[in-house]
């Protein structure tokens, strides 16, 4: 059993408490920006503190202080990130127009694990980079390692900062929204690139929390590098596997925290997948508040799922006026009710799909 005993996050919506307040009050924290793309305004999710590594250190430290551990010396660290140190490399390259001042060890994805290991001295570290499912795959590995008894404590970190490569790259794909994104809406424009740090301590026994990572499911679309399988087979498969792994039924799921990026392709296919499996289960995407935090998104939304269960409150779909798919239950207002099981989806480039079931056993 993998208990989610301690967690914290930082995103454009602030810390976890501030984030949940923003979600329940339908207050998007996306800001319009013209600094990344010339003569073009796009919505981005920027953290207040621009020192990414300071945020990383502070957020991890908060998780340690909330836990029953004195340190992380006997813990495994698993990091999920799609950017790593790209932001620092860009800075040097744009200034020098050469690679001479780029520190290769600080360019790589592993810069995050190395930084945290220097600060907190973990037993072992490893990093995963599967684009927007990076921290979801980190959770999948962590759960399996705890389930077989290989580790008692695993710290999972999802962390990605804003950088030119991702903002301009998604712009090149034509999927950015010029305003705060409106997932599942008929008139949605696209997504908002965002940054975040999310940190979760998974342990083999409970401490001040009975919320567990109950199930993980993963699949590949085997279809297209950027577009999801139009028949949604990959998304359906990852959700089914996660539910099966959790040992619950489809009808037990109380809420679906959708991947819901706000792009035309993702939301259409994800809605089809949800419609195929579920009858009237409430659905929303919290990316309307946070933006798409890329490699950090699975874990950030895992934390949101924990809060939804603890607060027994369904998050409404911010920005939704007219739902494109009327066959899924996209909820427009906050609803207070008992919530035991949340399904959270993340999908990535390459057709990499992850679904998580987070919940409390009765």
């Amino acid at each position: 059993m993998a208990f989610i005993n301690s967690y914290e996050s930082c995103s454009c919506a602030g810390n976890t408490q501030e984030l949940m307040n923003a979600i329940y009050s339908k207050s998007t924290k996306i800001t319009l920006d013209t600094s990344y793309i010339k003569e073009c305004s796009v919505g981005l999710g920027k953290m207040k503190n621009s020192d990414f590594f300071e945020v990383l250190n502070n957020t991890t430290d908060k998780v340690l202080k909330k836990s029953n551990l004195k340190n992380f010396n006997d813990s495994l660290l698993i990091v999920g990130s799609s950017i790593g140190g790209m932001k620092a490399s860009e800075k040097h390259y744009f200034k020098d127009n050469n690679y001479k001042n780029i520190d290769h060890s600080k360019h790589a994805i592993s810069v995050i694990q190395d930084f945290l290991n220097d600060k907190f001295n973990f037993l072992y570290t490893r990093s995963i980079s599967t684009a927007c499912t990076s921290s979801g795959n980190a959770l999948l590995l962590a759960k399996r390692l705890i389930d077989i008894g290989a580790y008692k404590n695993i710290l999972v970190v999802g962390a990605d900062s804003l950088c030119y490569t991702t903002v301009c790259g998604f712009h090149a794909l034509g999927v950015l929204s010029s305003k705060p994104c409106t997932p599942f809406d008929k008139d949605r424009e696209g997504m908002n690139v965002a940054e975040a740090v999310a940190v979760v301590l998974l342990q083999d026994s409970s401490y001040k929390s009975n919320v567990e990572l109950l199930g993980v499911g993963a699949s590949s679309d085997a279809c297209h590098m950027t577009n999801p399988d139009p028949k949604a087979k990959g998304a359906i498969s990852s959700m089914q596997k996660a539910i099966q792994d959790a040992g619950i039924g489809l009808c037990d799921v109380d809420y679906i925290n959708a991947h819901g990026t706000g792009t035309l392709a993702n939301d259409r296919v994800e809605a089809l997948a949800i419609q195929t499996l579920f009858k009237n289960t409430p659905v929303s995407s919290t990316k309307a508040v946070t933006g798409h935090t890329l490699g950090a998104s699975s874990l950030l939304e895992g934390i949101i799922s924990c809060e939804v269960i603890k607060q027994n409150k369904l998050p409404p779909q911010t920005g939704l006026l007219d739902a494109e798919n009327q066959n899924i239950n996209t909820i427009k207002e906050t609803v207070q009710r008992e919530i035991s099981f949340v399904l959270s989806n993340s999908f990535a480039f390459g057709g990499n799909n992850i679904s998580l079931v987070i919940g409390v056993r009765k």
Partner: protein
Amino acid sequence: MRVAINIISAYKVYAERKIEDLQEKRIVPKMIVRRRLTRSAKIMLYLADKCGFKDGKIVYASAYGELQAAAGITDAILNNSPISPTLFQNSVYNSAPSYFSMLNGDKDEIITISSGMKSSLDALKTASLQALVSGEKVLCVSIECLDIDRIEEVNLCTKYLESGACVVLEIAENEQDAKEIQEYEESGIIESLQDLMRVVNMSKKGFNKVFVEL
């Protein structure tokens, strides 16, 4: 926790600049698809083909990912040129195994490790975990493609700019005759690949049962 794994098949390939004859036309007959592939994807397809792997769980590792695509994007941004959408989609670290899954219709789990200089070791650990929990054979592959313009500005010690190592593994029924990973490294190969190279070299010497710490 330690497990013993069987190495079912193993292969390695490397070159100072560019690996020749990856048999791309045979492995990917459609030119329109072949043209989109990254160098890492071509090497991965070649290695998987050599190991006889077509379908199943994949654990892929790379310390630096798709450097050529990443460099192309930053160049375009610096020069105010349009960014190629193909370049951007190819820039993610999981693009090589994703191309493999598309070309082979493999819908199973793909995990990409990027743990700096211990990437291939962590891939081996992760692949062993995947084999343990599923009871299946798993492809573990590690590739680095550093052959980009002006790489000499940052590369001071790696002789072989393109390199890859690959094993298909399963959990062994027992630990009898299993060996620790031996010091059979390859000189001039980037450190991130060395652990998997050692396992490939052990296999070439007839040691096909290896201990892996999860």
